[in-house]
């Protein structure tokens, strides 16, 4: 499909999308009512005639209720709240124009008491905790706003919030959280005296239990909360098409500014950054490796996660050590109300979880696990990686196809006969305990591992007619495994309404091992002779971190955040060849100590300014690094927000990737030393604006990043020295350079209604400038000029349908521009390639459409869903990379494609 055709299709789809804007925007309709002792059913009739609103209600419940009321022009939801106040009834808006009226079960018991509407106190402080009603999980980063003002806050990581300067003790709080019904909570002179516990209901739960429900924020992502910040709800990820496994990181790749054309990497390329430039925090510990199955899946089980926040740039002083972005994952605490469990099955893996309260609900725990199994689906993905060597250019170490080596020697073991044993698993466990109303303690544990075993043994004893004692044993070991261990203990304490502290201690370990060797042991009568050849690669990273974060609300205009962090890294990397030759052996140790201070100041309830400073002492260099940061948000009107951010970011630990198609890419981390490995630095400049209605969000952000201290790594056998003392060393080369990343992101999101979703577009460029690659800057590997993503979800009864479309300009690549042969000493020839300038060419455009359907149903009292997902429905052959070989004097090019049409099925069951 040509670019123009794509654009036309996209435009048509988008127009269809947008014509519904007016019809569905009931929440934006304003109504005015004046009634004197009017029966409620007549009021509904009147509103139907005047504003075209439809009402669904039970006549019995409405009978006898009469209203006397006069209101100014108000949005429908606010007017309805006023109309139904004190009636014992509540409502739900059902777009496009229907309002469902039903009995409020909690009327008189909780929030609303008509006798308490008289203002007794002004300029008060309110605080409380937001929780999920069914599971008792606290909800982090939920938005709490005081209706009719710009006053508000978000809950912290423990679901706790404080708002100072609330005008009256009868104000209404509007609490919204992704995937939950937005809730309105009325303050009364009585209930403000203590902390609130506000419970939210997941969309799809029984509505009668909700006190006041006005809007359904049935969306997957929330992009309006801050600068370059996006939240997603793991529960809703299931409604998106997937291949095999619902995946949080894959969902993040559907956002503007995050590259979506990296099928072979679940890591995130955010605004021209690379995956190692993202700080990934899971329950406060840093995760260094986020991939399963060579990068097709992320290492996180979405059943164990309740909230995901992505900061695409300009992030707060609280976060440090990375150049590009922050992904903060909050694990579920476990159900504080009752035992719950679930099971899930896909073509790739089986997963399950159990959660339950203990100590009378003061504590809760959750254990979730996932393991892949050998299936056709798994094998197909696996083969995509491991069978590559059987294709053209299948030998491991030649310039071209013909290997100057012994016929039948060396790798003469028929490994294709071996059925590899491979799997991945991950396990999450978390226990949370609340010893008092002011304290929360949790311990969280994570372990995930990928294992691949291609080993085999051969054992031969001497036979024939010679009675000698002879034993010949050949062992072929091919073992690869990698994974993470992580654990954190966190204590949160609310000293008072104004001061909140979190202290945590964490440990994170990333390990990766590759053992690939053949060993032959010959035992004769009196001697044993062993020959071994192959290579062994081992990387082990340990991270010990102590962290203290504090929030101090000085006033309602002024909030101070400060804290400190100390991280000790111990990284070992070893690469050995043929038993004895240590080609690389690195040990990096270093202590990184940081402190930060940030002040958030609100002026006239319109302008929010944040200024912060992060100071880091880096043990390896012994120097102090300063990172100033600032951001502002200006509320031009209720709907229009202007925003900007600026900041300096540094990175001390760098991940090195050794691309290796034959053996799977290997990676390891190391600490910068500011000599051959520079300390990475980035300056972020971000400006943007958003326009938001209750139904739609339009958001635009532009970014410009100056990058310094970039390093590109390669290892090579290189002759060093000259003459009789010269050697061939396996050397590391760190090419260093600078870069620039710039771009514009547009997001149009439809937030509510049966059809929700978004259209995202990113225009971007990443230029690197490395002396080693020539005088001119070149496009970085991850450079994508245009990227369009269209994501839609449609709900129809118990069915949910999802569709995604991705279009992205092809990535740059380096190619052979010519080839030549060298005659070797034994008379054979080897082919070599003359190589183009760095990334001089570009792969064809990447595009695909995925669709999915999910059916929700009940199995007795438990819930279940069954789904089908079709990945790449028009079987687009997107090029992953190109391979080259010389055949009879011709240079042949082979395009290796990413996944074609891939169907997958899944089934999930939960007890409640």
């Amino acid at each position: 499909m040509s670019c123009k055709h794509l654009a036309m299709c996209l435009g048509a789809v988008f127009l269809l999308f947008s014509t519904k804007i007016i019809a569905q925007d009931m929440a934006n309709t304003k109504i005015k009512v004046t009634y004197v002792d009017e029966p409620l059913d007549l009021v509904f009739l009147n509103l139907k005639l005047s504003y075209g609103l439809n009402f669904e209600y039970s006549e019995a419940e409405v009978k006898g209720i009469r209203l006397s009321m006069s209101t100014p022009k108000l949005p429908v939801n606010e007017a309805m709240m006023m109309l139904l106040q004190g009636t014992g009834l509540t409502f739900e808006l059902k777009p496009p124009k229907t309002i469902v009226i039903f009995k409020d079960k909690n009327f008189g018991k909780t929030d609303l008491d008509p006798s308490e509407f008289e203002v007794k106190n002004r300029n008060i402080t309110v605080s409380g905790t937001i929780k999920d009603k069914a599971s008792g999980e606290t909800l982090p980063y939920a938005s709490v706003q005081v209706r009719g003002t710009t006053l508000g806050n978000t809950t912290n990581g423990d679901g706790y919030f404080t708002i100072q300067g609330v005008p009256t003790d009868t104000a209404i709080l509007e609490i919204s959280y992704l995937g939950y019904h937005t809730r309105y909570f009325r303050l009364t002179p009585e209930n403000v005296k203590q902390d609130f516990l506000i419970e939210m209901t997941v969309i799809g739960e029984m509505l009668q239990e909700v006190v006041i429900v006005a809007e359904k924020e049935d969306q997957l992502l929330k992009a309006s909360s801050g600068i370059s910040t996006i939240g997603i709800t793991p529960a809703a990820v299931a409604s998106l098409p997937s291949y095999g496994e619902k995946d949080i990181f894959r969902s993040l790749q559907l956002l503007p500014g995050v590259s979506g054309s990296n099928e072979s990497s679940s890591g995130l390329y955010v605004r021209g950054g690379t995956p190692d430039q993202n700080l990934v925090l899971f329950d406060e510990f840093t995760v260094y490796h986020v991939d399963h199955l060579f990068g097709f899946f992320s290492a996180f089980n979405s059943n164990a996660i309740k909230d995901v926040q992505l900061y695409k740039g300009g992030f707060d002083a609280k976060y440090g050590g990375r150049l590009s972005s922050v992904v903060e994952l909050t694990g579920k605490d476990g159900n504080t109300e009752r035992l719950n469990m679930g099971l899930g099955l896909s073509l790739l893996s089986v997963n399950g979880y159990v959660e339950a309260p203990f100590a009378d609900g003061k504590g809760s725990f959750l254990v979730a696990g996932r393991r892949s199994f050998q299936s056709k689906f798994y094998s197909n993905l696996f083969d995509d990686f491991t069978n590559i060597g059987d294709g053209p250019g299948g030998s491991t170490n030649t310039g071209g196809g013909s290997q100057p080596g012994p016929p039948g020697g060396g790798r003469g073991f028929g490994q294709q006969e071996v059925q590899p044993t491979s799997y991945f698993y991950d396990l999450n466990a978390k226990a949370t305990y609340r010893p008092s109303k002011k304290d929360i303690v949790f311990i969280s544990f994570y372990n995930g591992k990928d294992n691949l075993d291609n080993s085999r043994d051969a054992n031969t004893s001497a036979f024939g007619n010679r009675p000698i004692n002879f034993n010949f044993q050949r062992e072929s070991v091919d073992l690869t495994n990698w994974g993470n261990w992580g654990t954190a203990v966190k204590w949160s304490r609310r000293w008072n309404d104004h001061f909140y502290s979190n202290a945590n201690i964490s440990y994170s370990n990333y390990f990766s091992k590759r053992d690939r060797h053949n060993s032959t042991t010959i035992t004769r009568e009196d001697s044993t002779f062993t020959i071994s050849n192959g290579n062994f690669e081992y990387n082990n990273l340990k991270d010990y971190t102590l962290k203290l974060d504090n929030e101090w609300q000085l006033s309602h205009q002024n909030q101070l955040e400060f804290g400190a962090q100390a991280t000790y890294n111990d990284i070992r990397y070893k690469y050995t060849q043929n038993d004895t030759l240590n080609v690389l052996n690195r040990t990096d140790k270093g202590l990184i100590t940081s402190a930060y201070l940030q002040d958030r100041h609100t002026f006239n309830d319109k302008l929010i300014l944040k200024g912060g400073l992060r100071m880091t002492h880096y043990g390896v260099t012994g120097k102090i690094y300063t990172e100033p940061r600032a951001s502002l948000t200006y509320l031009l009107t209720d709907r229009i927000k202007l925003k900007a951010a600026w900041g300096k970011y540094r990175q001390f630990a760098t991940r090195i990737v050794r691309e290796d198609i034959q053996q799977g890419s290997r990676d390891f981390w190391l600490l910068a030393n500011d000599e051959n490995v520079p300390i990475g630095a980035a300056m972020h400049h971000i400006a943007g604006a958003s326009y938001e209605t209750s139904t739609w969000l339009f958001d635009v952000e532009a970014y410009y990043k100056n990058l310094d201290g970039l390093s590109e790594y390669t290892t090579r056998f290189t002759p060093s020295g000259f003459g009789p003392n010269s050697t061939l060393d396996y050397e590391e080369f760190f090419y260093t350079g600078t870069g620039k990343a710039k771009g514009v992101e547009l997001l149009t999101q439809k937030k509510i209604g049966k059809l929700t979703g978004w259209l995202g577009y990113t225009l971007g460029e990443v230029l690197y400038d490395f002396d080693a690659f020539g005088d001119k800057p070149f496009h970085a590997n991850q450079d994508v000029t245009h990227e369009v993503k269209l994501v839609g979800n449609y709900k129809l009864g118990q069915w949910a349908f999802g569709a995604t479309f991705i279009y992205a300009t092809g990535k740059p690549y380096t190619a052979p521009t010519g080839f030549y042969q060298v005659n070797l000493l034994d008379g054979s020839t080897a082919d070599f390639f003359e190589v183009s300038g760095k990334n001089a060419f570009r792969l064809p455009a990447y595009h695909r459409v995925d669709i999915s359907a999910t059916y929700d149903f009940r199995l007795g009292r438990s819930k279940a869903n069954l789904g089908l997902s079709l990945f790449n429905i028009y079987n687009r052959k997107n090029t992953w990379y190109k391979e080259y070989e010389v055949v009879e004097g011709e240079l042949l090019e082979t395009n290796v494609s990413l996944l074609g049409l891939t169907p997958s099925l899944f089934f999930n069951w939960t007890l409640r």
Binding site: F463, R716, T814, V822, F833
Partner: protein, 273 residues
């Protein structure tokens, strides 16, 4: 709606700008040197060709036969004469161990040069010059032969310097017979069996006859002492766009290799039992 229209217009304009660069427009003219300087032998193994462009329709290598090529041993510069097929020689110039040689010529307005050191010869010992092996047969009744263990042939030499060595084993019979009958049927045109190792730092090599010897008769074993630049030819990453790198070369403004080599030769025979 206005916003959406502008957005759409913006997208359409951007999409029309999609372009791809074309690899077929690139023509390469880089000189490629394949030069071996064998210690104690005349200078006759230097070949100069041109790299073939990706877009080229020629399947033959373009040879460069009209260059002014010189080889300098540090004291004197020798002129090399073209003898066709891209080869250059100077039969009067005998390559000496321990010397450094520099090759130089002009091509496409660039001065192409390469420098190498010629290592000392190193002799080696062989554990056995005669071994016996059973013929493996299938055609006359049940399979026979090949079940008896055969002691390895061990080659050893001194390598205190930690240099790279490279072993080539070659059958030199005019009409060799296969140890395993099955190969005779598959291979109607007899060719001499050849077996080579990769250059490695070693002072010992064990030939496992059952695995590594395919034919009966006389075999020549050449032990090459090679330089690191030659060994580097064997350590090249695969040819995919994910990991392609510059090829190993010690030629300035060109490609390929100029390298000094020293060798020693011994023989052994494989007798049919």
């Amino acid at each position: 709606m206005k916003f959406i229209s502008i957005l759409l217009l913006f997208l359409v304009i951007l999409f029309t700008a999609c372009q791809e660069e074309n690899i077929n427009n690139i023509k390469t003219k880089t000189a490629v040197v394949t030069g071996y300087l064998f210690a104690g032998q005349a200078c006759d193994s230097i070949r100069i060709t041109e790299a073939t462009s990706y877009s080229s329709n020629d399947s033959l290598t373009v040879t460069l036969d009209d260059l002014n090529v010189t080889l300098d041993d540090g004291n004197q510069s020798y002129s090399l004469s073209p003898i066709g097929g891209g080869y250059y020689r100077n039969a009067d110039l005998i390559i000496e161990s321990g010397k450094t040689y520099t090759l130089q010529f002009e091509h496409n307005g660039k001065s192409v040069s390469a420098k190498t050191f010629v290592p000392e010869q190193r002799s080696f010992a062989i554990s056995d010059t005669l071994i016996g092996m059973e013929k493996i047969e299938f055609s006359n009744g049940p399979p026979s032969g090949g079940f008896t263990a055969v002691d390895p042939i061990e080659l050893s030499w001194d390598n205190p310097e930690g240099d790279y060595y490279y072993v080539v084993v070659q059958n030199i019979e005019s009409n060799p017979e296969y140890v395993n009958e099955i190969f005779e049927e598959q291979d109607s045109l007899f060719s001499n069996f050849r077996f080579t190792t990769e250059p490695q730092i070693m002072d010992f090599y064990s030939i496992d006859p059952r695995r590594e010897i395919e034919q009966f008769g006389r075999h020549r074993v050449i032990l090459y002492r090679v330089n690191p630049e030659y060994a580097s030819l064997y350590n090249v990453s695969d040819a995919s766009t994910l990991s392609i790198t510059e090829p190993p070369s010690n030629v300035e403004n060109g490609l390929g290799i100029l390298t000094g080599v020293a060798s020693d030769t011994l023989y052994f025979r494989v007798k049919k039992l």
